[in-house]
């Protein structure tokens, strides 16, 4: 394995965690990404304890208060209040909850379905593969947000349906990735050897092939997080995702857009949250890819 470029197997040898961390931690962007994701994950989990107010609590005397550092800000509302007097900081913290959950669910659903379809298509080949791949081509040929809008319109407007819709648009990426990986792995001698011991398709797919395909899937999953968050926020902005009064960043943006001049913090802050969290996941995904793929290592 020491012969450098001549090694054709893209396998990640089951390296110890320490080895992985060594490569990962040298990538500054990846560490920043991990920190951002960890911070938001903490906010999401600890929301009820750290948020100063209930996100739906309306304070009559404090409408459109600016953040504390600008003129007219009240110390009680650190990041100000919205047009009906709800504390923006609390809503943002609870919004992290929604976005993390959305990202997680989108990835879980699309990864599970996509991996399964990719495994079946890649291993079975023939018409099964053709049918699956043509379906995925159709899904991919439609702009993802448009497709999501169609799905939500059919199923009805709710956060759950938005998650489902976005998951569907993310599936083809996983299917293609896994299928390509399976095609590489299934012709390798270790799979053929296993067949000559009598291994059936179930064993081949799930015990032999799948574990050797996981590295790129993990990376794609991390990137899928950001896709999911972004698209569900977009649906929320269009009024097709989370419905008020749920504190969801996209919905908050949309609610606040009429105040973009009078109360700019109401659009700026949720927008920044989306930007930073998505950036965090992308940095993390890139870092994981570099650390998991031995071909990119110097």
């Amino acid at each position: 394995m020491s012969s450098g470029g001549a090694v054709e197997s893209p396998m990640t040898a089951p390296s110890s965690f320490g080895e992985f961390w060594f490569v990962f931690s040298r990538n500054r962007g990846a560490v920043v990404g991990l920190a951002i994701v960890a911070l938001f994950a903490f906010l999401a989990i600890a929301a009820p304890w750290i948020a100063p107010y209930d996100p739906a609590l309306i304070s009559d005397g404090a409408l459109l208060k600016p953040p504390f550092w600008s003129e007219g800000g009240e110390p009680g509302f650190w990041l100000g209040t919205d047009d009906v007097g709800r504390d923006l900081l609390s809503r943002l913290i609870y919004g992290a909850r929604v976005s993390m959950a959305v990202g997680f669910l989108v990835v879980v659903v699309s990864l599970a379905v996509g991996t399964l379809l990719g495994l079946v298509g890649g291993y079975a080949g023939g018409w099964i593969d053709a049918v699956i791949m043509r379906l995925m081509d159709i899904l991919m040929s439609l702009p993802s947000i448009l497709l999501a809008i169609v799905v939500v319109t059919v199923l009805g407007q709710s956060l759950v349906n938005a998650i489902l819709a976005v998951s569907i648009t993310v599936i083809p990426g996983f299917v293609r990735l896994v299928r390509a990986q399976v095609l590489v792995e299934k012709s390798k001698p270790y799979v053929i050897a296993s067949r000559t011991f009598g291994a059936g398709p179930m064993r081949q797919i799930f015990i032999n092939i799948l574990p050797n395909c996981m590295a790129p899937v993990i990376v794609q999953g991390t990137l899928g997080f950001s896709d999911g968050i972004l698209n569900v926020a977009a649906l929320g902005f269009l009024g097709l995702g989370a419905q008020p009064p749920t504190a969801e960043w996209g919905t908050m943006l949309s609610d606040a857009r009429s105040f973009i001049e009078s109360a700019p913090w109401l659009v700026t802050l949720p927008g920044l949250c989306i930007l930073i969290l998505v950036l965090g996941f992308n940095l993390l995904g890139d870092g994981l890819r570099d650390a998991l793929d031995p071909r990119l290592q110097k």
């Binding site: 394995m1 197997s9 396998m11 040898a13 089951p14 390798k188 001698p189 270790y190 053929i192 050897a193 296993s194 067949r195 000559t196 011991f197 009598g198 291994a199 064993r203 032999n208 574990p211 050797n212």
Partner: protein, 328 residues
């Protein structure tokens, strides 16, 4: 040769269909009428350049590929009459590349135990005991049990491959260039291991190789292949030390260990012709130093020459009459 041979291959053919854009189909004859017999406990070496069909033969015998013609018999029974799982309990294979033939995510002990796990009917404990015993047999120390393939050297990996192939106690072992990926010093160790195991378990070997000095060491019989066809087949002494076919002579002449008298007389030039459109007549005609007119017209049959079989018009009693002599 009167008793039933353990492995009998008759007129085996494998043709691959190649679809080409706009030009219709083409056929690649990877194996073309290959016949041989192998007695129990013996070693037959298949020799030839890369691309001559050696590995296709191994795949057909492992039932990874389906032959398109001919017959394979194991212990007198036709391949078609033996269920594939039973076949695999009797016939196993060692792969050429000890790197890609081991699942990188499994520990050594699990790799060796895999055939037993799949076969079923063994308790967990029994599987472990057997796998450990097999590790000892192939010279892997117990501390390797919990290691992953990437922590092993090439020789150690190939020992894992051998242990895995032998754990179901097969009778026939197909060795597809088992040592060609290893360092020379390790090659001898693995080869000696294979020979020791053959004595201990009474194994029959089909040893595929392009390395003539290895073949001289291990083989009882030698089969020389060219472009999917048998050129010369006979005992080691006859084929390696008194070659008759010009191709065998050329192969040996290119090897420093063999008959010095052959050196310089014959050299192989050029490459194998494309198997997509093999020449009419003898497959070796394009490179043969002793090519005759008849070689371009008719394919020479296998014919007995000096107690071995040889397919060359030089030895056909009456070349114009060759169509009458049917291949064995």
């Amino acid at each position: 040769m009167s008793e039933t041979p353990f492995l009998e291959v008759k007129n085996l053919s494998k043709t691959y269909e190649v679809r080409r854009l706009f030009r219709g189909k083409a056929f690649v004859r990877a194996l073309d009428g290959v016949s041989f017999q192998l007695q129990k406990g013996k070693t037959l070496a298949i020799v030839g350049e890369s691309g001559c069909g050696k590995s296709t033969l191994a795949k057909c015998l492992m039932r990874i590929e389906k032959p398109t013609g001919g017959e394979i018999r194991l212990g007198g029974r036709r391949l078609e009459d033996i269920p594939v799982r039973e076949w695999w309990r009797n016939v196993q294979m060692i792969f050429q590349d000890p790197y890609s033939s081991l699942n990188p995510r499994k520990k050594v002990i699990d790799l060796i135990a895999e055939p037993l796990v799949i076969a079923g009917g063994f308790s967990k404990n029994e599987i472990r005991v057997r796998a450990k015993a097999m590790m000892a047999k192939v010279g892997l120390r117990p501390e390797f049990e919990e290691r992953y393939p990437h922590m092993l050297s090439g020789g150690q990996r190939q020992r894992v491959g051998i242990a895995r192939a032998l754990i179901l106690k097969p009778q026939l072992l197909i060795c597809d260039e088992p040592v060609s990926a290893l360092d020379i010093s390790i090659q001898a160790q693995v080869l000696n291991l294979l020979m020791d195991l053959q004595d201990e378990f009474g194994l029959t070997y089909l040893f595929i190789s392009h390395d003539l000095s290895l073949v001289r060491h291990i083989a009882d019989d030698v089969l020389v292949m060219y472009l999917g066809q048998v050129m010369e087949l006979g005992s080691r002494e006859k084929v390696l030390f008194d070659p008759q076919h010009p191709y065998t002579k050329a192969l040996l002449a290119s090897h420093p260990d063999f008959d010095k008298a052959l050196n310089g007389q014959l050299t192989l030039e050029g490459e194998l012709p494309s198997p997509l459109n093999p020449p009419v007549g003898c497959p070796f005609q394009s490179r043969c130093p002793r090519v005759m007119a008849v070689c371009r017209e008719r394919r020479p049959p296998l014919f007995e020459v000096k107690s071995r079989e040889c397919a060359c018009h030089l030895y056909t009693p009456d070349p114009s009459d060759s169509a009458r002599v049917s291949p064995v």
